[in-house]
Symmetry: C2
Subunit: 491 residues, 2 copies
């Protein structure tokens, strides 16, 4: 797939700077109903992080581990995993890092594609540095949408960069499974990577993180349960630790996903030394705004781009500038980026048609769902208890053991899990929910529905869960809350 | 566990005739907050059909088949099933048909248990025929709740009864897996049984049913997809057929779940003959109301007990008489029976306290969720398109291929499925949803939530599904509906 568009064209209604999943959606929604023309500017693969280096490959690695684990906890079933075949399927899932099908989709949808590195260059203007060295200037009649995403933050540890650590892209597209790995970080990427590394055969996985628990943004029991399960599968946890020194005798950059040279020695801040074949850095992300020309329109490079509910960038009078996805820092999740993209696209189309009734992303952000595909899975929607209290909500909470259900009892032996609802007592609606356990990924959407729909608890009481499923947790939680309220009332 | 209650006691606030799952719930809800005394009358196992002969054992048999099937569609994972171990786990799941723990639960909850066969005997009175032959008369101050359940209907086919066919209890508690089985029926029990029989090693399974498709009460594509999958796993389908003759040379009743004697020959109405080791009858159910003393209070025995929204039996001035579960014929599903039980229990408690604000089961019945644990699973909530049209609703429908999602693509290779929403165009709310595919069981609760919560489509649009999960089907369905409406509007 080479030239995909008239090489002399210089003007579109909408320019999308960054052709990842969200960017694609913004272009699609801007043009789908309104007939606006749009172009995606991308110097890497169309479809971006999610399609090739994040969600898709990680899920392709985690799903086989999940199935083997399900079998291991089910008498009468035995399962085996062949890591090489799993990696080969992962390669098919990421289309061997070929974005041809995504380019075809864009063009067939009427969205143009310009390859090259784009930078803002004043009002409604984007200059693209193309692979052949020639610059190309694009102008937008209606809008420029920034979707330049984020990149891994590498902490400032002596020797770490020189040791050529793996970042998230390496561990999702790994060509071989390191036997010994140190994973640095305690968030989603770190926990998921530790899960698939151990599941695919890494025999010595160490997880080093600064906090006292994993998945610190989730309800506390989430990190506790995931940590226990990781330990059960042989992962060594080092909570409350930083690295003080990393040494690799002969670092060799052998390419993405290959082990970079020989043995690496990792020293923690208490002097403990762990020897590994590879180090994975998963300590958060930084927005890609350093070098996208923000200075040409009076914005400071380097930070997240704050947006309003219409995805318009704040702090500027450039009413044509939108931001979506990781770069606006609201929720670094593919599905939220795509949601923001749908909103931005619709806002752009509405404005182009002269409408003053503009779609808003406010409602969707209340639901904020997330699934961490560890084992047990962690699914959440809305606010944690801490976040709800910080927001000044009159909070009532209820928890229940997910293992104490017929639906989970038949799912696997020794099921372990926990669930929690966070209720706004004033409005009597659910504002947050967390489920930790096997097979809860699809359960999250019921919570998101209840939260965004602001369904009163008195109505939720009549939403009957099917028997025997894990969804019965809703009945148990609501029942427990009722008993609690009766008891609190002294009746 | 023998005598569980003062043998001379003769009066309670609430008598529950039938101690299955629903009955237990009715007693619990009547007494939990109000302090009403209650007693369960049961001549078989406390916990009933669901705990010992239906939901629990069938799910225990289906779950291993599901996991092995998931592995079979996932390159890099191979799984094997050991039928004997699966049957042994099934036995543990049904507590070796010992209801001791349920009796303990009842007593610890303050619910009495009287063993024996109970019959109504005039106003607020139940006479129990006890195992020792002595009758015992119980009277209820407030309510008698009928939860006598249902039993399999055996069609009138020459030779069928004499051949001692298996009914649902036999196939859920089978002691050995027949090599050749004819399953008669095309509903939930028949489809689930065919799935586990084939999955556990029966090499010749035939499914004979009168209609032209399986699961006739679901959206048509459900039966089509389940039928295709059954055929793929080697099950022979005989749609549009009745049996005309069944012959078994030496039928021997060897006990529940054992193969009853030698080879059985089954002749269809077109003359086709199928030879099998066992015949399973799954052609619907009949209410257990023939012999429960309905005549003593002016009601006709044998039919379903019609109830109002408070679960009070209609057609009688006996304001103390309630019915819940299968026996009222509203929805022969454990979770709906338990829901009706919660409502009945609360109504009884409210009335005992003199309240005139009575809970109603109307809202919950709108949601009506069901999961059929075939492979693919069939999950539904609310109305089918046909049911909605018959109800006079201004119907709009939308369908989408469940396989065309990132979340199902990573779940397994060659995923097959379909989803459909039924929308009430006037009120712009979802009134029905059907999902067919692997891993959709927990997805149903989001549909039940949307339906019972009557969330406008404009709000559902902001309920973001997590990526990559099967829940993303919601986005695709709503997106497709939007495009459809725009197109219909001509814009």
């Amino acid at each position: 797939m080479t030239a995909t568009v008239d090489p002399d064209r210089s003007s579109w209604d909408v320019i999308v700077l960054g052709g990842a999943a969200a960017g694609e959606n913004a272009a699609q929604y801007a043009s789908q109903f309104s007939g606006l023309s749009s172009v995606l500017v991308e110097d890497s693969l169309l479809g971006g992080e999610c399609s090739y280096w994040a969600c898709m490959p990680s899920k392709a690695l985690l799903r086989p581990v999940e199935v083997v684990d399900a079998a291991a906890h089910l008498p009468g079933v035995s399962a085996r995993l062949e890591a090489a075949e799993v990696l080969a399927r992962r390669d098919r899932v990421i289309n061997q890092l070929d974005d041809g099908s995504q380019v075809s989709w864009a063009l067939s949808t009427g969205i143009d594609v310009v390859r090259g590195y784009g930078r803002l260059a004043g009002e409604r203007t984007v200059v693209v540095s193309r692979p052949d060295g020639a610059d190309r200037t694009l102008t937008a009649r209606h809008a420029v949408v920034v979707d330049t995403g984020s990149r891994p933050a590498v902490p400032d540890v002596p020797g770490l960069r020189a040791a050529l650590p793996w970042a998230s892209r390496d561990v999702t597209t790994m060509r071989e499974v390191p036997r010994r790995v140190v994973v640095l970080g305690g968030g989603v990427v770190a926990c998921e990577a530790a899960t698939w590394l151990a599941g695919l055969g890494a025999s010595e996985v160490s997880l080093v993180y600064r906090g006292d628990r994993l998945l610190a943004r989730q309800e506390p029991f989430a990190g506790t349960l995931v940590g226990q399960a990781l330990q059960d599968s042989g992962v060594q946890l080092y909570p409350g630790h930083n690295l003080s020194l990393v040494k690799r005798a002969e670092p060799r950059d052998t390419g993405h996903g290959h082990i970079h040279g020989g043995e690496v020695s990792v020293t923690l801040d208490d002097g403990t030394t762990v020897v590994a074949d590879e180090v994975v850095v998963a300590t958060g992300r930084l927005p890609n705004t350093e070098d996208i020309g923000l200075d040409t329109i009076g914005l400071r490079p380097g930070g997240y781009l704050a947006v309003d509910e219409h995805q318009c960038v704040r702090g500027t009078d450039a009413d044509w500038l939108y931001a979506i996805g990781d770069v606006c820092g609201r929720a670094l999740l593919t599905h939220m980026g795509k949601y923001q993209a749908r909103i931005a696209g619709e806002v752009i189309a509405a404005r182009a048609e002269g409408s003053t009734e503009l779609p808003s992303a406010a409602a969707g952000h209340i639901g904020l769902p997330q699934v961490v595909f560890t084992d047990p899975e962690v699914g959440s929607a809305g606010l944690t208890e801490r976040q709800a209290r910080d927001a000044g909500i009159d909070v009532e909470v209820v928890e229940y053991d997910l293992a104490a259900l017929a639906g989970t009892y038949v799912m696997r032996s020794d099921y372990r899990g926990q669930a929690k609802l966070v209720v706004d007592r004033t409005d009597d609606v659910v504002v947050g929910a967390t489920f930790v356990g096997a097979g809860i990924a699809e359960l999250v959407h019921s919570a998101t529905t209840a939260i965004v729909g602001r369904i009163p608890l008195s109505t939720l009481w009549h939403v009957v869960p099917s028997y025997p499923t894990a969804s019965e947790i809703w009945l148990r939680l609501l029942e427990t809350l009722r008993v609690k309220r009766r008891t609190d009332d002294g009746s």
